[in-house]
Symmetry: C2
Subunit: 430 residues, 2 copies
Amino acid sequence: MKTILNPGKSEWTKALKRPVQKTKEIEKIVKPIMRKVKRSGDKALKKFALEYDHVQIKNLLVSLEEIKKARELVDPQLKEAIQVAKDNIEKFHAAQASPELKMEVMEGVTCMRRSVPIQRVGLYIPGGTAPLFSTVLMLGVPANYAGCEEIILCTPPDKDGNIHPAILYTADLIGIDKIVKAGGAQAVAAMTFGTESVPKVDKIFGPGNQYVTAAKQLAVKKGVAIDMPAGPSEVLVYADETAIPAFVAADLLSQAEHGVDSQVVLVTTTEKFAKKVLKEVEEQLETLPRKDIAKRALDNSVAVIMGNQAKALELINDYAPEHLIICVENEEEAVNSIINAGSVFIGNYTPESAGDYASGTNHTLPTYGYARNYSGVSLDSFFKKITYQKITEKGIQKLGPTIEIMAANELLDAHKNAVSIRLQYLKEKK
Amino acid sequence: MKTILNPGKSEWTKALKRPVQKTKEIEKIVKPIMRKVKRSGDKALKKFALEYDHVQIKNLLVSLEEIKKARELVDPQLKEAIQVAKDNIEKFHAAQASPELKMEVMEGVTCMRRSVPIQRVGLYIPGGTAPLFSTVLMLGVPANYAGCEEIILCTPPDKDGNIHPAILYTADLIGIDKIVKAGGAQAVAAMTFGTESVPKVDKIFGPGNQYVTAAKQLAVKKGVAIDMPAGPSEVLVYADETAIPAFVAADLLSQAEHGVDSQVVLVTTTEKFAKKVLKEVEEQLETLPRKDIAKRALDNSVAVIMGNQAKALELINDYAPEHLIICVENEEEAVNSIINAGSVFIGNYTPESAGDYASGTNHTLPTYGYARNYSGVSLDSFFKKITYQKITEKGIQKLGPTIEIMAANELLDAHKNAVSIRLQYLKEKK
């Protein structure tokens, strides 16, 4: 981890440069995968499972038998933990529901807005080094609470063709309809086009590697919506002398262990404090099973010393971190000044892991600077908002002339006529 | 307009096929335009203004002088109409504000969510055949109400290098900071990369032709967000014998005059009613100044006779119309059964023009079937929602073990450590 002292504004972008995403090269690999799945459906999914997951899949869909078995295999302690997390996530997401909005904006003109669940959603759960059942909760709980009619989950099988029992158990607990043994770009393609086993969906959610990300971007061109664009995960910790260096170090490392391209930033007020934290990072690093990954992630990472809080906050908003931990004396001012961040963790006892698993906030968050213009996944991500209007005879008589004048000035006479013909009719009716 | 009698479900897609979008060909033209603007900034914008708008632009930014002049040029009656529309739009969008959400999900674990305005937004207002000051209202009013720090408006100049006074007047009324004389893909490029005159923005809004749409899609790849993907505008009118044929015809025509690729669909219960409507369409068409455009749009359009309401509603939800007019006896059942639509217009006295201009709902809506997975523009479109959590000593003691178990089971030990180190510290502190 490099240390940078009081960088000027012009140096910020370079100092906090994120790892480069090789979109074009990846797209070239992903496009033919998408095409093949579109053309050959299940057959292509099985072929890719053999090629990439090194397993011969008979049934792409997880059976009831497999789910039953998973229920037995998951440790009761873990079941209890999943339940606690689920309850918190459900509580906080349920509170996000937008009630129906109905108002008479002027006499006889009533406008309304309702949230209607997206019918078919697809959740992608990555395989790889960690069985991410927490992501099943983060996507499945709000999807189910929103009332999406069909919830499909795709996740790659292991070398024996199985899905990790904790993933199956969690999906079943939420009531997910269909679990498909498919990973990578091919899974995204299956949900985009539909196959014999996998229904075509309206929106695809979930994290993934660069192939999955590229496939999701291509899915958008085919009319499917996605949760948000994605890049590698990241945390920025903003801490001063009131923070405990060992805690800060642990938080930095918890992000660093995600992947070699994870980015970890410390913004602090004095060199002395930064040194304490970096010393702790080195010590704690040695004890970690995923030490090699974390070490490489730390190579991309920096500690920035900023003389005053105003400058520090400006830098943070400029970077727009996915996860932001704030642990400073003047905490309230700092929190209220944040305008670009995915999720914010406040104080000495709020590690990022809390939000990753169980505090109730969603862990699917905008990375790579997208916190400037995207929100994390929320209950709303599973809804469309439809607007309605109903105008009475009196209402059109009142509002009609306004519409007529505006339409005429936009040179859209048929728009005007649609009002005039009604006003004329009402005049004659009298 | 073709009439189709009781099509089976398998025939729906073909019967209601939307005009094809030639994305690839368009992208090939748009990419070099984007590159040139990125490289040469204002110079490129001026070059493209000469090439596409046939005008030599000295100052890309509209001056205060020009705005003053616009204020004088706009007719007082139109000013009044714009004010009425603005008030309604502001009222209905203000009511959409999400209050701060704060809840203690369990003892010592507080989660929060706040709406924070997107800092810099760019509004694109098409030029072409109609001066769309109504779109300035639809995008500018919520942007301003949300509190976006910087609002940029780009719109192409006419052959004399001017912007239509009604557009300038409306933009000024809302308080838009910067109005840029630039149109097409080059305007989108300017807002994506920034030029000497045009600031780089975080999110781009607004309709446009296929070049603008393609440029917006490319902007997404550069980290800019967009309101939604776009296709040609469309209306579906669902009407039975309780509707007035002349009104229905006027509504169909008001959509048809938008552009030759607009799509217009009538779903009704009897052939007799359809015939009445089509006869009215032909008669009213003759009186329209934009008759030729409307005529060509009607060539893409169909009347579908559906025997019963359930089937009719299924077809409508399958099509997912941008605008949906419902004018049937069993109105409430119909309205409540709609799950895919942009905006719904209810009853004999609610023409689509009402929502296009002045009822208060937004007219920037998902076209081309995107109503399945996207919402129209709303106040929320100008916000990010940031989540926060704060955990107390007691809170981490309660929730900590849950996080530890979950992290350990996901094989993410550093995630676990971030909690364990805090629990250990609290134990020793006692």
